[in-house]
Assembly symmetry: C2
Homo-oligomer: 380 residues x 2
């Protein structure tokens, strides 16, 4: 590997599904692994020590938001995100590209970067691959992402193609600009669900020889079957021995779908965002809206077989009371539960792959209920 202190090994395979082990300077990540999102260097409503308890292994943070508030220099003065956010395990930062392209405000695309308006105060800024690298070096995460252009899933082909070309140019620029040897730089493949563009993007990005690869440009409005077909294609195109990161998937069934197609790590704001609206995720993909009056006198736990603090301690009736009374503790407890559901699902998938019974495991989970839909996953 180019980065020091990192190693990735695929230790078991079951069909296309993989169980692996990523070594980082801040600890080991067993894959498949769900990564909680801490957009502004805080996984909303969850204490870092609770993330440990939930068996989270990597936490994400968002370059765009931290660039503006509190600013990369403040984080750098702490020695980086680990110390800043009180999480001593591995951290991954995105590049800021997704926010630059998706948040409101007029933007001007240039070959060297993007000019856009800050969501914080409307001021004009230019993000370039070089600035994305410098900022991520200041933030000090273990895994850092190339600056890419993510086109919406419904974009016409010429736009997708332009995004692929720009993503390749910027990936090369990121490679040149990135200097920290203790950070692993992840290359991102784009191309929407267009097979020819995916093949082209994958060829161009893998030719550069990154240590790990992300599948970008999915979960952004495309059809579910096309999304999965694209992940299957990526399984064929990406080097078998490298870590694969699916950016933005967090419903239980979607997670199992991408694990089955060779994805190692994935992230989503879904569990914590749903918690704040009073919705509990269930392991089988179902959801409970705790505002529903049918829970008013329900003395059972949120989920029978869950081992989280919320399920061990409180009734649905109490959780509904907290949610309807807008008590912060409601969002806190539901966040713990929702994260635990996904972290545990990924951990169980890992064990099933190692035992060579992943397909059986997936059928078992699916039998327990009907799945929820996919949902937007990026920074909250």
């Amino acid at each position: 590997m180019r980065a020091d202190g990192f190693a990735f090994t695929v230790e078991a395979r079951d069909g296309a599904a993989r169980a692996g082990r990523l070594v980082t300077p801040h600890g080991v990540v067993e894959t498949p692994c769900f990564m909680p999102v801490g957009t502004k260097a805080s996984v909303k409503a969850v204490e870092p020590r609770e993330l440990r308890e939930l068996e989270a292994q990597v936490v994400l943070a968002n370059t765009y938001h931290l660039y503006f508030r509190p600013g990369a220099a403040v984080v750098a003065a702490h020695g980086g995100l680990h110390r800043f956010m009180g999480w001593d395990g591995p951290v991954l930062t995105d590049s800021g590209g997704f926010q630059v392209f998706s948040l409101e405000g007029t933007r001007v695309l240039r070959d060297d970067g993007v000019e856009f308006s800050s969501v914080y105060d409307g001021s004009r800024h230019v993000f370039t691959p070089e600035l994305a690298m410098r900022t991520q070096e200041d933030l000090g995460a273990d895994l850092v992402m190339a600056f890419d252009q993510c086109a919406p899933g419904t974009s016409p082909r010429p736009e997708l193609e332009a995004a692929v070309e720009r993503t390749t140019l910027w990936a090369a620029a990121c490679r040149r600009a990135h200097t920290r040897r203790d950070q692993l730089l992840v290359g991102i493949v784009q191309g929407g669900t267009d097979e020819r563009l995916r093949r082209r993007s994958a060829a161009e990005i893998t030719d550069m020889g990154f240590d790990a690869y992300a599948i970008g440009g999915l979960s952004v409005g495309e059809r579910g079957d096309e999304m999965l077909a694209t992940v299957e294609l990526m399984d064929e195109l990406l080097p078998a021995g490298r870590l694969r990161y699916f950016m933005g998937i967090g419903d239980p069934r979607g997670i199992l779908d991408v694990i089955a197609r060779g994805v190692d790590v994935f992230d989503c704001v879904l569990p914590t965002r749903m918690a704040r609206t009073g919705t509990a995720l269930l392991r089988d993909g179902g959801r409970l809206n705790l505002r529903n009056a049918r829970f008013a006198a329900d003395l059972g736990p949120l989920e029978d077989d869950c081992d989280c603090y919320a399920c061990r301690t409180f009734t649905r009736s109490y959780l509904r009371h907290l949610v309807t009374q807008r008590e912060m503790l409601g969002a806190q407890l539901l966040s713990l539960h929702n994260l635990r559901v996904l972290l545990r699902l990924a951990g169980d998938a890992r064990r099933a792959i190692r035992a060579g019974r992943f397909a059986e495991f997936v059928s078992h989970v699916a039998e327990q209920g009907s799945a929820g839909g996919r949902a937007a996953c990026r920074a909250e």
Copy 2:
């Protein structure tokens, strides 16, 4: 004692200050003791297991709010508040009287109770001593409060006098109505800062022979010196061997002032309310407004010698970031800290009283900084 499973012993005295031990069916309370307030059966933004970690001993809940949401029957179906709110230590419920008299909505005072409008939906209700007792029996706290009338500190004498008379009548009615032997019923003395009325109220209430007494009608707008003079008078008038509860004080200096005058337990919403506005309490009575830009790059802890999770783990810079970005974690961490400051202060006072050096301890704390003001303390 009239109640089963309770005992109170004053184990040490230092001047008027007392260190004692209250045995309840849900555990022992070492006094002096600060009691966190969980108005709606949740200490806002704090998990019950964290209350344990902070060394909280008793938690309050609010009869008025729980009567309306979720309703006493839902709590009773859980077997009471302990199970409902996931706190297996001692619980105290107030009577609802304070809210009936202080919350918005037109009310009609009658000798048998108060007719008022619910803050939840404006519907008309009547609270009586009998209903306050029945509701508190359903809620199932260890310590329950008599239904009293708390007149504002600035009320003219005839109003204070009427409140004293009504409080005595209602206290007698509560005694007759209360049947649970596993609950300790606390009598409340009123009378504002008027010495003659205080003497009268104390005589009438103590004549009934309650197991514990609360000093009501203070911290409601009266002058600080008159408040303290009244607490001194109460020290003289209340039976020396009974628990004494000052309703609603939560700034560090105020706490030491009432402990010095013979108070055993006290409560306030101040620590958690201030946390939600981004303000940290300091042990010496000072306050830090974390929105202040001077904390932007401050790498020190909130308070140097504090042992709470927030101080052990995070910088002022990070906490300011959370507060200014409205991250819920900011309110969570400041709530932990602010509660810990008061719980630890009361614990240190307890040890100082036992060691016969309480006055020295108070001077030492006062030297560390200038005190904050008193603040409204009731249900938040």
